[in-house]
Amino acid sequence: MEVLLTAIAHVFNPVSLLLIVGGVFFGLLLGAIPGLTATMAVGLIIPVTFGLAPELAFPLLVSLYVGGISGGLVSASLIGIPGTPSSVTTVFDSYSMTKNGQPGRALGLGSAASLWGGLASAVALVTLAPPLAKFALRFGPFEFTSLFLLTFACVTAVTGESRVKGYLALLLGLFLSMVGMDPINGIERFTLGYYQLSAGFSQLPALIGLFTLSEVVSGAKRGKKPTIIAAQRFSVVKDFIETLFVIPKYFFLFLRTTIMGVAIGTFPGIGPGLANVLCYAQAKAGAKHPELFGKGSEEGIIGAEAGNNAATGGALIPLLTLVLTLGVPGDTVTALILGAFMLHGIQPGPLLFRTNSQFVTIIFVAFFVANIVMWLLQLACSKIFIKALSTPVYILAPVILLFCAVGSFAINNRVFDIWVFVLFGLIGLAFIVFRVPLLPLLMGLILGKNFEKEFRTALIVSKGSLAPFFTRPISLALIIISVLLVIYLTRLSARAQKTLANTGK
């Protein structure tokens, strides 16, 4: 209790509050601009957090995350372009509602659903994280290896059109992660004579490259300005207050969606993007008026937005508890935040609760506060966001590229990492041209080295026997779950795709 009060005092001190408001605002702004994502918002700010104490840096990053995920709602509702992948399905109903002349109501409903979803997942975060942290201590090399297998199974199970391409992307990511010193013997591999590569590709520049370069380039190519319906008049305040209390009307829908969002977020490698799609599919399946979906259904907006915001909290659980190893991130943003932990010399994991419980509580409180700030800002600034949407791409693109260069350099003080950014940017571009999913590549890249390390360590411990993978209960359970999950997720994502195909356009 005392820890909680101290944490609240920490978060409510003026500097930290200012950072949270600023973080949510910046996140919303970037999320609202099509093609810019929460990942990018966090990636840009991480180098800036160097100079801050961790008690300030992480509330800032968490607020960026919350803001970035919710920001996609604005462009989704107003111009029908999902600002972030996590609001793909939000477009269907929000934009229809806007076209029906109720843009304020569309924004308000989405924001309210985001708010309630985020708060619910904050509660889940607080109650679930400590027991999960204790449980995580029981994970040894066998359990971790199985867990990585489960992660890989999840990631490839949800990759759109072609499963084979997903597997290939995963393998390519795994291979790229193995460049540099091997994690057991320190033997250098595949460095092509560059000593800068002996630690492998730096993760953050690679991640930023994969996602931003391709987005910037395709944005710059499109070139044209988005058309905006800002001309219409609407009373933002009235709509926002009204919609805040619409949610209880759909209590059960909301509950189902939130639980699903948190659960999806907790599974490594999925995160809010898929949560948005799956929750929407689920909301439609259980809706009273499924025929209204895609035509401005309130249920649709709630399902999609509550889902993705609930997943943000869920995705933080594995990060903070390290249940899922030395950091299996729940999605791309948490992958970046994980990197930030390392930069600040904080080892995420079960030990975090013991050595830094104060710090963890601060993050919880900040997450809670950030969600409320997010709603207030949506209310106050929707009109500013609409302005930001009209910044011409030809100015935006070079600015973003420059920030990427600075960010890549500042992360490890090496010009070499700017080249890593470029290389992975080109890989990302190629993947988009060839319609190959990026997520498996990313997960392979991030987790490959740990997977290899744990697997080989496991075999050293067992003196070469594979049997413990199947005799240790947690490991066995994980392997069984991966198999079942692959089957289930494959069917579910096929259904989600069908829903998408039916409702879209």
Partner: protein
């Protein structure tokens, strides 16, 4: 829909073949990795499995997609070089920025990059050039001195 499918087949074929090539190279590199005395598997073991998997799946993808590839499908793949020229130019500029960062320094490099890119992407207008210079100048100074003074982070 049919056209999209055909197009996809060609793309899949190219991607599959690329994976086979990369996989072969990776497998060759993996089999030359030194092993050590105190561990059975060695540093080349998992890379070998991974690159082997890439070759097998790459072949599978190529064969599966090759069936629906014909001359007409190949003809559908075109690359709009002219429309992409500004973007390519900006990417080259970015590479130039990275290459010269340590000799020219951040302030000049970043300023020139932003100003030129805005100008190129904006369609070479006078107004765009001015915008680029203003945005580039303000941004460069903000980033450089912001990082240096506030965070003691040195940029070259």
């Amino acid at each position: 829909m049919e056209a999209r499918k055909r197009q996809k087949a060609v793309l899949d074929l190219i991607f599959g073949l690329a994976c086979v090539v990369v996989g072969c190279l990776a497998f060759y590199a993996s089999s030359n990795v030194r092993t050590s005395a105190f561990e059975r598997l060695g540093a080349g073991f998992i890379p070998k499995i991974v690159s082997g998997g890439m070759v097998v799946l790459g072949l599978w993808l190529s064969i599966a997609s090759a069936r629906s590839v014909d001359r007409k499908a190949i003809g559908m793949i075109s690359f709009d070089i002219k429309g992409n020229l500004p973007v390519i130019a900006v990417l080259l500029l970015f590479a130039a920025l990275a290459a010269t960062l340590e000799t020219v320094g951040f302030r000049i490099g970043a300023f020139a990059f932003v100003a030129l890119s805005v100008w190129i992407l904006g369609g070479f207008g006078r107004r765009e050039l001015l915008q680029g210079i203003v945005v580039g100048g303000i941004l460069t100074l903000m980033v450089y001195y912001g990082l240096k003074e506030l965070l003691r982070l040195m940029l070259p």
